[in-house]
C-alpha cells in the first residue's frame, strides 16, 4: 500500500561562532542574564525592538520574543534554559516560528573563558531545520543561479 502522507524532511547542522570581548566574563554574562541588557542586543529588526520580550533566566525557565520581519511576517522565538553556570556557561534550547509556523529547533551553548584580554566567547548551535523552512523564494534563487551558470556554459 502506497504511503500517501506528505514527505517530511529535516536538515541537521552544527555551527560555531567565536568572539573576543575586551571585558570581564561577569559583564558578558550579565548581558545575557539581565533582561534590560539582553533586550538591547538580542532584538532583531531595527531599533524598535521586539513587540514582546519576556525572560525568566534560570534552569527550567523560559524566554519569549515576538517580532516582525522586514516584510511584516511575524517572527517568534521561544527559549528554554537547560544549564546555567554563572559567568561560565549557558545552555538553552530554542525554536523559531515564521508566520506562525515552527521552522526549527536548536540546542545552543555559550561558553565564557577569562583571558588576559578579557573574555573568549564561544557560541555553538546544533539545529534541526524542518520541511518548508526555506520558503519558495530561497529555493527559486538557488535554481535561477544554477540555470544562469548553465546558460553561460552553453554560450561558450
Amino acid at each position: 500500500m502506497e504511503n500517501i502522507m506528505e514527505q517530511l524532511s529535516v536538515t541537521h547542522s552544527t555551527f560555531v561562532i567565536e568572539r573576543s570581548y575586551p571585558t570581564s566574563p561577569e559583564r558578558v554574562f550579565a548581558a545575557f542574564a539581565d533582561p534590560a541588557k539582553k533586550r538591547r542586543w538580542f532584538a532583531e529588526g531595527g531599533s524598535s525592538g521586539p513587540r514582546e520580550f519576556e525572560m525568566d533566566f534560570r534552569v527550567g525557565g523560559s524566554e519569549h520574543s515576538r517580532g516582525k520581519m522586514q516584510d511584516g511576517t511575524p517572527l517568534a522565538n521561544d527559549t528554554s534554559y537547560q544549564d546555567i553556570e554563572p559567568n561560565r556557561r549557558i545552555v538553552f534550547a530554542y525554536t523559531m516560528s515564521v508566520g506562525g509556523r515552527r521552522i526549527s529547533a536548536s540546542l545552543s551553548t555559550i561558553e565564557l573563558l577569562a583571558t588576559d584580554k578579557g573574555t573568549d566567547f564561544v557560541y555553538t548551535e546544533q539545529a534541526a531545520f524542518f520541511e518548508g523552512s526555506d520558503g519558495p523564494k530561497i529555493r527559486q534563487a538557488g535554481w535561477s543561479s544554477l540555470f544562469e551558470q548553465l546558460a553561460k556554459e552553453l554560450a561558450r
Partner: protein, 110 residues
C-alpha cells in the same frame, strides 16, 4: 554534507529530458518518494528510478533508501538550501553578537 562538483555536461544531459525536468520541478516543492513521483508522470517506478540515477549523477538530486522507500530531494550542488538557511541563521547570531560587543563597550550603569 559532501560538496558535489557540478559537471555542467551532466546537468545539461539530465535536464535535456522533459520527464526529468518534471521530476526536478516536483521535487523543488518538497522531498518525495520515488513511487509517489511516478504517479502524476504516469510511468513505472522503475522508469522513475532510472531517471533519478541520471539526476543523482549530475548532482541535482539526492536519494536515500530506508527499507523499501527511496526518498528523493533536490540538491543543487553548492547552492544547497540547507547551507543557505544555516548561513542566514548564523548571520543573525553574528549580528546579535556584534550588538552585544557594542553594548559591552558602553560604561556600565551599575
Amino acid at each position: 554534507m559532501p560538496r558535489l562538483k557540478v559537471n555542467i555536461d551532466r546537468v545539461f544531459h539530465a535536464l535535456g529530458d522533459p520527464t526529468r525536468r518534471a521530476i526536478v520541478e516536483r521535487l523543488s516543492e518538497g522531498a518525495m518518494s520515488a513511487s509517489r513521483l511516478a504517479v502524476p508522470l504516469d510511468i513505472t517506478v522503475a522508469a522513475v528510478v532510472q531517471h533519478l540515477q541520471i539526476l543523482e549523477k549530475s548532482g541535482l538530486v539526492r536519494t536515500t533508501k530506508v527499507g523499501r522507500v527511496r526518498t528523493c530531494r533536490i540538491e543543487p550542488a553548492g547552492l544547497s538550501v540547507a547551507e543557505r538557511w544555516i548561513g542566514e541563521r548564523r548571520s543573525m547570531w553574528e549580528r546579535r553578537f556584534d550588538r552585544l560587543g557594542d553594548l559591552l563597550e558602553e560604561p556600565d550603569e551599575g
